[in-house]
Symmetry: C2
Subunit: 480 residues, 2 copies
């Protein structure tokens, strides 16, 4: 007797079955499997992968002996039973990310996720050599989330026809919206898996307006058909996030459409991956129940606190303009400015996102194609990520009372504070430190990626001398 | 027979009369003079200057032989007649400033006033040596407007008791609010006159909250008594502007009080000097009839266009944080940042204001005491002023269509454009130049105070290469 297959907790168990390929298996065949561990059951939708191949993907969230049985309207696929052994996760597998502590994120095993995202909208639709270069770059970059489009992109600097498309041609120059093209989605599988291997969350953008093929205007029924397929196919990857749209307000969908799409994804996803929607101008109402966190496009990071208060959820400023040199103003801020914006968001209890848009002879811009990074902000973002991760505790929460005059200050615990002074260049600053601890004050230079201890063993109300230069931070830590 | 006195157009004609000093001449004696040129008459209030001396000050606005006759309830002061010859203004005398072209300012002779203001709130209440130092500094500085308080100031860094006070003591530790102290106002006369000699507008702040003596809470009747005196005394100085308050919203006055104060000053001032009111948080409604221009405290200069639209009046961001290094965030931005803010305001059709708050051993901070300037922004503001003043025409008005993608662009005429790129660092930019002219494109570096010609004889749609660095501007001028 063969041993049962083993699957790591939060890895993908994939059940592959042979079934009919005639007719339209996407529409005609229903398939699900009920996975059970002791008395707990989860019903997971399957999907058609082409060539008579049907898949059910499942992410087990508990260690133990799982059993399954399939349900289908097709006899070949119905009543198939089996099981697998879910074992402890390997190194680097912390499970899926979800919202914790109101405004922050953690992996399922408790490991904090300090969101440090980047943007490569169309990287999955580029030639293989470029995709591999993107992954090599990411393997050395500080980013732990990547925004990417499920559909291909047509936009200035993005005018290459993708090799594959999401639907089969209808023979009349359009698409058969009842027949998906499995090879297209297999390519996305590979991209998501590769990111998972690098410990990077794949923030999947389900709709976007930068389209010339018709994906942006498929109608409600096709949208739902597409979403069911995408969620059935990708949800078992622990690193998936759902972004209903990029710049939703530039699309020809009503607010009712967006509400329906968001609720549908919420309902379909058995694992509760993070869900949001990204704006161009006005924000979506992120207070709505299906939204797990606010995905924001905005340049004024000083408003992060206001948005936390408005929505009561984590604030991820996925787009705050990109480091680059293109003519468009959303894509030509300096590395210094983007570094400043990351710190500003962090020091107000939120998270900023990176993108890069340098004009290079290759025509590849990181923000869309991936490839290599040319800018100076990623190294600084790596430094910030180290600062975020240092010390015990979870999310850095805004606190008052340590530094007067309204400086942005966050705390990870009662013994760890971080003050970011941004544009301010005080030559001295008052600190109101608690008297029952002894504190070390360190001056951090986010651009130079350096720290310098200013004082040890301070306590109570103190005035500290500072260099009188902008863009500096203070780390204030209680000594043991 | 002696010749009639001669007075320059827009200078002060001062009529001095001897009258009673017993009783309370401030309240008991009414005095005015009717000044006439041909068939035109203006009725000008006089005021008591102490020691039995009564003054009527008048700023003639037309060349010619003016006559006057006084009116008073006091026989000694009633029916006094005379005249003077108003002659052409001397060099540097361009007359009072008023709003022109909707969003800009000009002197009465048509000379444009590009507002480049600074702030020395309490300079007039400092010791004489420091006042003289302030004037020496101003004589070499680029500023053409100075915000200054009529009342003394009590605030952090401002805790010196002034030598003189505006009212006489009441003998019980308070003030006799029916008796002004003429020596106090004579000191202000000298300050305003000195600024006039330097070509600097005196933006007189009539009320402010930084007070420990009671001036901030005198009550409506005393406020009106004070305003009548101040307007009668100072309005004949051509360089006077009226600011009803600094940070009006921090004072214990209602909106009704401010409306009444603004309307009263509007009604009392025979010359229509510029009038506004400065906020801390929320703006006053500058659309109200008595307001001539929006005096704004705000840090986001990208919103200047919005405020122009809202109020339909010139926008002067008198306070956008100061160059300095004090702990408070309104007083510690860098010279680079303040320079950036001046350009940002200018390139959106408005005007920014300067202040400086460096901690120095002397304890004198320019923003309040005057003295010497330590910062690096004034030289850059001088460069900007040169740019503003270059070429024919009046105010720089926002224009669309020359540079796509929403860059801030203003034009002085159809042949002179200025683009400020601010945080953006494009390595190339499209220009849509009219084809019926030949254009020179100059790259300006506001921090280096330098210009470099990039192209001559350009026409039509063009893409120009740029250095890919932030904080640069383009000057685009049609060749003759």
């Amino acid at each position: 007797m063969e041993g049962k297959p083993q699957v790591e907790r939060w890895d993908v168990f994939e059940l592959q079955l042979e079934g009919p390929s005639e007719g339209n298996p996407f529409c005609d065949v229903q398939l699900a499997a009920v996975f059970a561990l002791e008395h707990r059951e989860l019903r997971i939708d399957g999907f058609y992968d082409g060539e008579g191949r049907f898949l059910v993907r499942f992410m087990p969230d508990e260690i133990g002996a799982w059993r399954y049985v399939t349900e289908s309207n097709c006899d070949d696929l119905d009543g198939v039973q089996g099981g697998f052994e879910c074992v402890a996760p390997g190194e680097g597998n912390h499970g899926p990310v979800s919202v914790r502590d109101g405004y922050h994120f953690r992996h399922a095993d408790g490991w904090p996720h300090y969101s440090v995202g980047t943007t490569c909208y169309a990287w999955a639709h580029q030639r293989q050599a470029l995709r591999l270069e993107t992954l090599r770059t990411l393997s050395e970059a500080p980013f732990n989330k990547l925004r990417m489009c499920v559909f291909p992109k047509w936009y200035p600097y993005n005018q290459r026809e993708p090799e594959l498309h999401a639907f089969e041609p209808d023979g009349e120059g359009g698409w058969d919206y009842a027949r998906l093209h499995p090879a297209y989605f297999q390519g996305l599988d590979a991209c998501i898996e590769a990111l998972m291997g690098l410990g990077i969350e794949a923030d999947l953008i389900l709709f976007h307006p930068y389209d010339k093929w018709g994906y942006a205007e498929m109608g409600a029924e096709t949208d739902a058909f597409f979403l069911r397929y995408v969620v059935a196919r990708f949800a078992a990857y622990r690193n998936v996030w759902w972004s209903m749209a990029n710049e939703f307000d530039l699309m020809k969908k009503s607010m009712t459409d967006w509400d329906r799409i968001g609720r549908l994804v919420h309902q379909l996803d058995p694992y509760g991956h993070p869900r949001s929607i990204h704006n161009c101008r006005g924000f979506y109402d992120h207070a709505k129940a299906w939204v797990t966190h606010a995905s924001v496009q905005h340049s004024d990071l000083e408003r992060v606190g206001e948005w936390r208060h408005t929505y009561g959820k984590p604030v991820v400023v996925d787009e705050c303009r990109y480091e680059g040199d293109i003519p468009r103003r959303w894509g030509n801020i300096s590395a210094r400015e983007l570094t400043h914006r990351f710190w500003e968001a962090f020091a107000r209890g939120g998270y900023a996102g990176h993108g890069e848009t340098y004009l290079k002879p290759s025509g590849d811009l990181w923000w869309s194609h991936g490839g290599v990074l040319h800018g100076d902000s990623p190294a600084r973002i790596a430094f910030l990520r180290e600062v975020m991760e240092q010390g015990e505790g979870g999310g850095w929460e805004p606190v008052d009372g340590i530094v007067p005059h309204g400086y942005a200050c966050v705390a990870k615990s009662e013994g760890q504070y971080l003050v970011y002074m941004g544009l301010a260049q005080p030559s001295e600053l008052d600190l109101h430190l608690s008297e029952d601890k002894s504190w070390t004050i360190e001056l951090l230079n986010p651009w130079e990626m350096a720290g310098k201890t200013l004082h040890c063993e301070l306590s109570g109300k103190q005035t500290v001398k500072l260099p009188g230069r902008p863009y500096l931070a203070l780390r204030i830590v209680a000594q043991d």
